[in-house]
């Protein structure tokens, strides 16, 4: 897909998204894993506890690699007439949405996103199946992208 980026550069979500996802995986996998290991060590002896800690470590490693790859798969490209968004590791998806087809743009930010100053920009068209959304943008970039999309959408508006 890099070949067709003739009128723009592939951009990525901010590294803050990666930080956020890493913290989430540590919070959801590693912490409970270690707590569980402690419990197992108490009930079943230190050998089992060490095994559980090792299992947690391996699992954490796998999840971190998956998170890293998922982050690396995200990309968006603002071309002259359309926005291209790609994502996904296992199932790879690429969406092409012409600016003229845009009905409205959303910028959303959850509580965790906000702590890191991140936001998600979503472009909606008249088709329900369109999924063009870019997560993990810094607030300034999210605003820029939103205004850019809105302006281009206005300029190239085509009837349904």
């Amino acid at each position: 897909m890099e070949a067709d980026g003739h009128d723009g550069l592939w951009r990525r979500p901010d590294r803050g998204l990666l930080v956020l996802r890493r913290r989430l995986s540590v919070g959801l996998v590693t912490t409970p894993g270690l707590l569980g290991s402690g419990l197992i060590a108490l009930l079943d002896g230190p050998a089992s506890g060490v095994g559980a800690v090792l299992a947690t470590a391996v699992l954490t490693g796998l999840v971190l690699v998956a998170v890293e790859r998922r982050y690396a798969a995200w990309g968006y490209l603002e071309r002259e007439d359309d926005l291209v968004v790609r994502r996904g590791v296992l199932v790879r998806r690429t969406s092409v949405v012409p600016y003229g087809r845009m009905q409205y743009v959303d910028v959303t930010a959850g509580p965790l996103d906000r702590r890191l100053g991140l936001a998600t920009v979503t472009m909606h068209t008249a088709a329900a199946a369109t999924d063009a959304s870019v997560p993990g943008l810094l607030a300034a970039e999210a605003t820029r992208l939103r205004d850019h999309l809105a302006a281009l959408g206005e300029a190239r508006q085509a009837g349904v």
Partner: protein, 436 residues
């Protein structure tokens, strides 16, 4: 509360409207009353209360609602005011109209009345501005005027009757063909399965076979009632061309006349069910941005409920205003691992104006999307597909019943995506240029 005098071109609905609206309710009420009365469960007091208070109140409310509802057409809008307690004032921009239907439910037909329904993009589950009920002539005149205004043609002003719009019938579906085609659908499948099951069990045990045959009656009835509904809805299906756009007329008891202005079609889908293949029949469906996906009054979405393939193809080409591209990009044999039964059918065709995809296991389906209507394009590549060097292309449109087309493809989807996107851009620019 108080509707003002009708000035400035405001018009009310037909005075029989409250009767029709309340009529169905009254019928149910009387039926219930009769049934309960026959069992002696209704005393004189209930009846007196009903006739003395209930019915007058209902009649009064119906009358007030009718008095409060009015509409008018300006150069750019349809304006509708309605509501007694909560009032609603609606403005429908005519440039956004996707289709205009004239619906005549059976009971309205008897009285020479019709309902006019305007379909606009992005509405809720129902038609955006149903005008029910109007006198037949008024409905037809209003339809012509709305379509003229929405297409930017200057309509005749005021009450001057518009000249009848000339129309040319393209196809009429013969009743015999329609009946045969409906029977060759689910009813034939269910009946055949049932017969086979009964025959097999009767060899083993007659009693089981008999109970099985009895048990098969309810599913047959369900399937049969669907078939009857389809027959009633598609009876006398006529496709005609008029300066307003494409006109579809159908229905036996409730009749419906749809008008789809040129360039509003989002998707055309051609179905060829297995059982129809010996006859060479296909069914053609279309979608327009306005129609909703559900609802009781739902049309089947057929452009042609059944027709020989060559006739259907000519009609589709005519409706879309161009010959369709050949489906020349086929998947190769690698796809049989993912689609063992249908891989030979999977394919994509692309030219300057349309994208065509084919797929299907028992029913061969062909989707056609005008490139000027493409909302977005997506490429999906699952883990197994990637291993085989395959991927899928999804073409999204604004239609809600047929939301788009999906194509399986081999290898070079990136090229296909780039090509489709570029051609869609050209088609969009070309279609936007002569702005009405």
């Amino acid at each position: 509360m108080r509707p003002g005098p009708l000035t400035d071109g405001w018009v009310r609905l037909h005075p029989l409207t409250p009767l029709l609206r309340g009529g169905r309710f009254a019928l149910v009420l009387f039926a219930l009353l009769g049934q309960q009365g026959a069992r002696g469960a209704v005393d004189g007091q209930t009846v007196a209360l009903l006739f003395g208070v209930g019915i007058p109140v209902a009649v009064l409310f119906g009358y007030l609602a009718w008095r409060a509802m009015r509409y008018r057409i300006t150069a750019t809008e349809l304006q509708v005011e309605s509501g007694v307690l909560t009032t609603r004032s609606r403005r429908v921009p005519l440039a956004r109209v996707q289709a205009v239907d004239v619906v005549r439910p059976f009971y309205a037909r008897v009285l020479g009345l019709a309902e006019l329904r305007l379909e606009v993009v992005g509405g809720g589950g129902d038609a955006e501005a149903p005008l029910a009920f109007l006198a037949d002539d008024d409905a037809l005149r209003l339809r012509t005027r709305l379509l003229d205004l929405s297409a930017g043609r200057s309509a005749l002003d005021g009450a001057a009757p518009a000249p009848p719009v000339p129309e040319r019938v393209l196809v009429t579906v013969p009743t015999g063909t329609l009946v045969a085609s409906v029977l060759l659908g689910p009813p034939a499948v269910v009946a055949a399965l049932l017969v086979v099951a009964v025959l097999i069990t009767s060899v083993l045990d007659l009693e089981t076979a008999a109970s099985l045959a009895l048990g098969g009656v309810p599913p047959l009835l369900v399937v049969g009632s669907f078939a009857v509904r389809r027959l009633l809805s598609d009876y006398g299906f006529t496709v005609a061309e008029s300066p307003d756009g494409l006109r579809l007329r159908h229905g036996l008891l409730d009749t419906r006349s749809q008008t789809i202005p040129a360039g509003r079609i989002q998707v055309v889908r051609v179905h060829e069910p297995l059982l129809w293949k010996p006859f060479g029949w296909v069914r053609v469906e279309v979608d327009v941005a306005g129609y909703s996906s559900g609802g009781e009054q739902q049309v089947t979405g057929a452009l042609l409920p059944v027709a020989p393939r060559d006739l259907a193809e000519r009609l589709v080409a005519r409706v879309l205003g161009a010959d369709l591209p050949a489906v020349d990009r086929r998947v190769d044999a690698r796809a049989r691992w993912l689609a063992p039964l249908s891989w030979r059918r999977l394919g994509v065709g692309l030219d300057d104006r349309h994208v065509v995809t084919t797929y299907g296991v028992l029913t061969t389906t062909t989707d056609v999307v005008p490139l000027a209507k493409v909302q977005s394009l997506r490429v999906l590549e699952g883990p197994l597909q990637r291993r085989l060097g395959l991927s899928s292309l999804a073409v999204d449109t604004a239609g809600r019943r047929l939301p788009g087309a999906l194509a399986q493809h081999r290898g070079d989807t990136a090229t296909l995506l780039a090509e489709a996107a570029a051609r869609a851009r050209t088609a969009r620019v070309a279609s936007a240029a002569p702005t009405p």
